[in-house]
Amino acid sequence: MSTFHNCRPFPPATLPLFCLLISRIFPLEAEAMLKFAIRNLFSRPVRSILALLGLTVAIAGMVGLFSVAEGLDSMVNTTFGRIPGLLAMQPGAPVPLFSSLPAEWGEEIEEIEGVSVVNPNIWQRVNLINNEMVVSPPRFLFGADISSRLALKADVYRDDMIAGRYLTLKDQGTRNVVISKPIANEFNLEPGDIFNVNGYDLTVVGIYFCESLLLDVAIILDIDEIRSISRFGPDLVSSFYVETTKEFDDEEMIDRIQRVFVGRDLPAVKFSSQNIDANPIQTVANFFDRALKSFGSDNGKNGGEPEDRPINENNSHPNEANGKATDSEKTSTSESSGMSQPDAINDEEFFPLEVRNANDWAKRFTRFSRDLNIFLAVLTGIGVTIAVLSIVNTMLMSVSERIVEFGILKANGWTKTDVLKLVTFESSLLGLAGGVLGCLFGFLATQFFNHYFPTRAQLYASPELLAFSLAFSILVGVIGGLYPAVWAMRMMPMDAIRRG
């Protein structure tokens, strides 16, 4: 141990600097004790550093892990905070990608008092870009009715153009697209470039960048053109983006819109068969898409065999979700989108259209991030437990080596509480230093991740998270030092001195 005691990995000026800092901050009583505690830690540098590293890693891990959930929360808040309108989609669909609605409903929504603009949208997953498979991060074709899109007062994509131009009426009927900056960067695209998506050539006319992982995923084009390269027929859309006049609050508008469609059934899906024949890649993709979705929607009733549920030109599926008899006029598009209607909804209560505002979306994500937090807390708990044990071990070793020292202190009038304070100061200093370093490294790690992997996730270590982590680390230090401290303080002075 003498080798350890003699080595000094800290710069010589570090200890006086600490002491000076402490003398400026703490009252006279605490100052002397703290200086003593620091000297004790510095006198066993290797052991202190190892305990410190254990805690640093645990706290950095905690900051890093919880920054995932915070990043998600932050992203959701900033993203949905910028979308003032309402989104009408199929009930139960988690996102518009899984929603199908009759296109004609858009006109009915437009007639509702308080509605200003209705913009029909189609969302389609991108499987291939320039013959490269797109898995993660996901990319989407976003078909929008250009004329109504241009009528919107606020359009996040249009408002965040960074190169080229946004879609105009001239782009109707063309395969001109606006793409996000991450997509442009990933595939080295600029306005004027042509690239291939799912087997179709598209021309880039503009680039947008919303700085949100939820929004910077789209390839925006004319809604009629997306129909020609996707499975959506002319009578279907994924969702309607509704801009209101703000005469009524969101809750009232949601109710007004949903009430118009109460009791109606969702009609059958009408896929565009010409595209299936036109594009072999899409044909294969659609085959798997249909197979998977019918497997999911059958709920085991049909044994998961897609060939039992052929989709013909009329796409007449039995409306099993509503427990109804087979009827081509009363089928649910949820079958085709892989979503089932909740069993509890009966005919009278059934809303075939679900309208959500930004708050609803934020709430959904909050629920998700809450679940994520539980998972992250378990992971953090494992790391922190190891760190606590490490501190207990360090402090126990330190205390057992210094039994005589505590005897001397008691012989000189130190009370049990004074000894307890000294040991707890030492462990909480480890906690403080581990917390500071852990927060620093955790924060730097989130910045590093955000910088080098901007399209994978957006991590955010908030000041609150950092403050909590620091406080938690100090608490871990205090708790870790309590048992050894109690052990040290209970010894009679002479017992302690005699042990030496």
Binding site: L28, I408, T415, K416, M492, P493, M494, I497
Partner: protein
């Protein structure tokens, strides 16, 4: 006046009992210089630590100024040790992480070290010849220097009583004499009661009180 009344101390060593003191009764006058002598294992150090409230007797009582130590609360015992007793140990018992100056000041760390205390500690170290060694740690000091630091620590309290357990046990004759010189000076200047446990009877003067122990009892 210190009254020691029929004091017994039994240590448990595994299954067996070690009788360190077997009913010792004696008195120590105020402002006196006392020696406790006797062979090893006779109970000298045990008696000293009981007087200094570092340990508790199995039975019997120690009274300081007519107050029984057994009636002291823990807090009173701590204060008694901090303010009224100065200990000097054979193995010096300095804290190796602290400088000589901080070792002198260590009793007052929990209550705060004022600039006045610091000045007095520096003066005491100066007096015992360690003016240039104040910032040295114990492992950079000789045995004699360490014991002088321990004496300075005891002196800082301006104690009513100094208890020294074999203070010259690890020192050569010259240094031992020097240490005893400081203890004699303290006794003379501050009228402090001094009790020294020793094997070395060279330092005993005629005017000193000698308590001789054998097998845990007062030797006749």
């Amino acid at each position: 006046m210190i009254r020691i009344q029929n004091i017994r101390k039994v240590y448990q060593r595994g299954d067996s009992e070690v009788h360190a003191l077997r009913g010792v009764t004696c008195e120590v006058a105020e402002n006196s210089f006392n020696f406790v002598v006797g062979p090893s294992g006779s109970g000298k150090s045990s008696l000293l630590y009981l007087i200094g409230a570092l340990d508790q007797p199995t039975s019997g009582d120690v009274q300081i100024h007519d107050r029984s130590l057994s009636q002291f609360s823990n807090k009173q015992r701590d204060e008694f040790r901090r303010n009224q007793i100065g200990f000097v140990f054979q193995s010096f018992n300095l804290l190796r992480n602290l400088t000589a100056l901080d070792n002198v000041l260590v009793p007052y760390m929990p209550v705060g070290i004022s600039s006045e205390l610091r000045r007095r500690a520096q003066e005491l170290l100066d007096r015992v010849g360690l003016k240039d060694r104040m910032t040295h740690r114990p492992n950079h000091l000789s045995g004699g220097e360490q014991q002088r630091v321990a004496i300075a620590r005891a002196l800082l309290k301006q104690p009513q009583m100094v208890l020294a357990d074999e203070p010259t046990g690890e020192l050569d004759s010259a240094t031992g004499a020097e240490v005893f010189g400081y203890l004699r000076d303290l006794h003379a200047e501050q009228s402090t009661t001094v009790i020294v446990v020793t094997h070395d009877e060279r330092y005993i003067r005629d005017t000193d009180r000698v308590i001789a122990l054998r097998d845990g009892k007062l030797a006749v």
